[in-house]
């Protein structure tokens, strides 16, 4: 049997796609003249990392700041996050965690099935729910699910899990480029930025754009180091003027197989190209660990902050990502 021997063709599967649903969800495009924006996700109540990231991004000349959601979970005192985001003018979207908290759902919608993962997910969800005040719960419910900007002539779509689903996990080793191409095309974006998994990676799309998971700033990416990572999206030529600082710029360790280093978008329409850069930030993780202990959060979580290795919710990690970790 030959695939498509009766003239299936490229359009065959696209016939059942649902562009209308996508359009309904998609927000309006806001044009920006920012030359550089900072984007991060997964704050997980880590207000110390949040402060450090905001400062670092400003120092590196980010004109606008974006947060892709999941403000609570894992860390201590969730009510400290929203005021800091608002004060720092961070444009925030709603993650699955924020969605659950704002709607008073029973769980975080991560869908863990392993009993141990479930146990810890529940613990942190209950803690976060109990310690989020009514006011911020309501505020989370008003956050948009996605944002779109036009930057340097490129359409940039920001979402939480994926453009089609708030709680979809997109890992580097389980997302084929042909799938990412399709997704970006389907949603009319040149650059797609997402989070939700906690590990950053990027992929050059066939059309010259980018698909990037900006990672999270709430905990380290299971790499045995205590830094957290955020992402800079810059117009070409705006990338070489970082001030010297404690945390060195750039992608020190490209996840295996990824586009290491600084690929530059070649561009397909004559507009300035965009580049994606991952930035590590150190912060007072020991003080955070102490605060977590005071709040009686599980020692397993504290260990992750102190060692950089994930200890829970590992069931969702694909083979390659799992192999890089310790547990």
């Amino acid at each position: 049997m030959t695939p498509g021997e009766e003239g299936g063709g490229a359009g065959a599967v696209a016939a059942t796609d649902r562009p209308q649903a996508a359009e309904e969800r998609d927000p309006e495009v806001r044009a920006t003249d920012a030359r550089r924006i900072a984007v991060f996700g997964g704050v997980y109540s880590n207000w110390r990392a949040l402060e450090a990231v905001v400062e670092d991004a400003r120092r590196r000349g980010a004109d606008e700041l974006y947060c892709l959601g999941d403000l609570g979970a894992f860390g201590p005192n969730p009510d400290r996050i929203p005021p800091r985001l608002i004060d720092a003018d961070v444009r925030t979207i709603r993650g699955n965690y924020d969605d659950s908290i704002s709607r008073g759902l029973d769980d975080c919608q991560c869908g863990y099935t392993d009993p141990r993962d479930n146990h810890f997910a529940r613990l942190s969800y209950r803690y976060t729910f109990r310690n989020t005040s009514e006011r911020w719960r309501e505020w989370m419910g008003t956050l948009p699910e996605q944002r779109r900007i036009e930057m340097a002539g490129r359409e940039v779509l920001m979402c939480h899990g994926s453009p089609r689903r708030m709680n979809e996990f997109l890992w580097e080793s389980t997302s084929s480029t042909q799938f990412l191409d399709w997704m970006a095309r389907e949603h009319g974006a040149d650059v797609v930025l997402c989070t939700h998994t906690g590990i950053h990676w990027k992929r050059r799309l066939s059309g010259g754009g980018w698909f990037a998971n900006v990672g999270c700033i709430g905990r380290p990416p299971n790499d045995g180091r205590t830094d957290v990572w955020y992402t800079l999206l810059s117009t070409e030529g705006d990338g070489g003027e970082e001030p010297t600082s404690a945390s060195s710029p750039g992608e020190r360790e490209a996840p295996a197989g990824g586009n290491g280093g600084r690929d530059r978008s070649t561009g397909d329409g004559g507009d300035a190209a965009l580049e994606v850069e991952f930035v590590p930030v150190s912060y007072d993780h020991e003080a955070l660990a102490e605060e977590m202990r005071r709040e009686e959060l599980p020692e397993e979580f504290v260990e992750t902050i102190l060692t950089g290795w994930w200890t829970t919710c590992l069931e969702v990690l694909p083979a390659k990502e799992r192999r890089r970790g310790r547990h």
Binding site: M1, N118, T177, G257, P318, A319, K320, R323
Partner: protein, 305 residues
């Protein structure tokens, strides 16, 4: 779709559309398997030729075409995929384009094949997941179902996979009572650790009560069907038929669970298979109940408190 009462054979059952072809499955060895498990829901055996082997060329062709459809990942099943002499070549081709998963009984792990797969995995940016079915944490539970000596052989398969740098996902069909779940899980983890698997990946699956499993267990009750009302507010993406199709020697079927059912064959091309499917089979009820049962991630978990 409102006449839900007294419909014959699930007539008027709700339909599920293929939202996007995320996952392309291949039943590379058809219904042919070196084992003959008593719970096999498509009754595979060494001489069940209902579905035959797929040849390498056919598979490569489909993998090539998958780019047009934006396929996210590939799954390989059987029968027993490791019976196919071209398995490594198939997986090598898949790993060039995306992640791949193989569902195996773990008893036919040849050194040469594993070496080739380990290299292909190293060289790819994508994950190769190997899922080994073992239906109990000890021979006493597993062997009556999967056959004499299969527990030991599958455990040896796990060891070999570990030696080649893989982190196999051990999948077990829940053939025990619900109340024993936690104890079974614990024993499983202990025994896998004893094999040198430090952080075992274990996934428990519900049993699908068709094929030989219908005879082994109680089968399905008449009321166990999916109705239109049950689909209201239900997340369709939980069902693999909303995001997958499977290629067999006969053509393209709606999903890997129903390949045995004549009406699961949707055609010879992806265009023909891009049609909604009526959930009129009783196996659909298991899918509906547990969701995502065929993906690497997810399964059924019992709450620990």
């Amino acid at each position: 779709m409102d006449e839900q009462d007294a419909r014959p054979e699930g007539a008027g059952a709700p339909e599920v559309e293929l939202e996007h072809l995320d996952t392309l499955w291949f039943q590379v060895t058809g219904t042919i398997c070196n084992l003959e498990c008593s719970h096999c829901f498509i009754s595979c055996s060494p001489d069940n030729h209902t579905l035959e082997f797929l040849d390498l060329e056919t598979v490569l062709d489909w993998v090539e075409r998958s780019g047009e459809w934006g396929v996210k990942e590939f799954y390989v099943t059987g029968g027993e995929p490791f019976m196919h002499r071209d398995l490594a070549a198939m997986l090598e081709a898949m790993l060039q384009r995306g992640p791949a998963s193989v569902l195996t009984n773990g008893t036919l792990m040849r050194e040469k094949t594993l070496r080739r797969l380990a290299t292909a995995h190293e060289e790819s940016r994508y994950s190769l997941e190997i899922r080994v079915s073992i239906d109990g944490p000890n021979p006493e539970m597993n062997d009556p179902i999967r056959g004499e000596g299969t527990f030991e052989r599958a455990m040896e398969g796990v060891r070999k996979l570990l030696d080649h740098g893989f982190l196999p996902i051990v999948t077990a069909t829940q053939v025990w009572d619900q109340e024993e779940d936690e104890a079974v899980r614990r024993e499983f983890m202990e025994n896998l650790r004893a094999q040198g698997y430090e952080n075992p990946r274990l996934k428990i699956l519900p049993s699908i009560k068709t094929g030989r499993e219908a005879a082994r267990s109680r089968g399905y009750g008449e009321g166990e069907r999916v109705t239109a009302a049950m689909m209201e507010g239900y997340e369709e993406e939980q069902l693999i038929c909303s995001s997958a199709r499977i290629v067999t020697s006969e053509g393209v079927h709606v999903c890997p669970i129903l390949v045995d059912e004549p009406d699961s064959l949707m055609g010879q091309t992806m265009e023909e298979a891009d049609e909604p499917f009526e959930l009129k089979h009783q196996a659909c009820y298991t899918c509906w109940l547990h969701g995502a049962i065929c993906s690497n991630y997810g399964g059924i978990g019992e709450e620990v408190t």
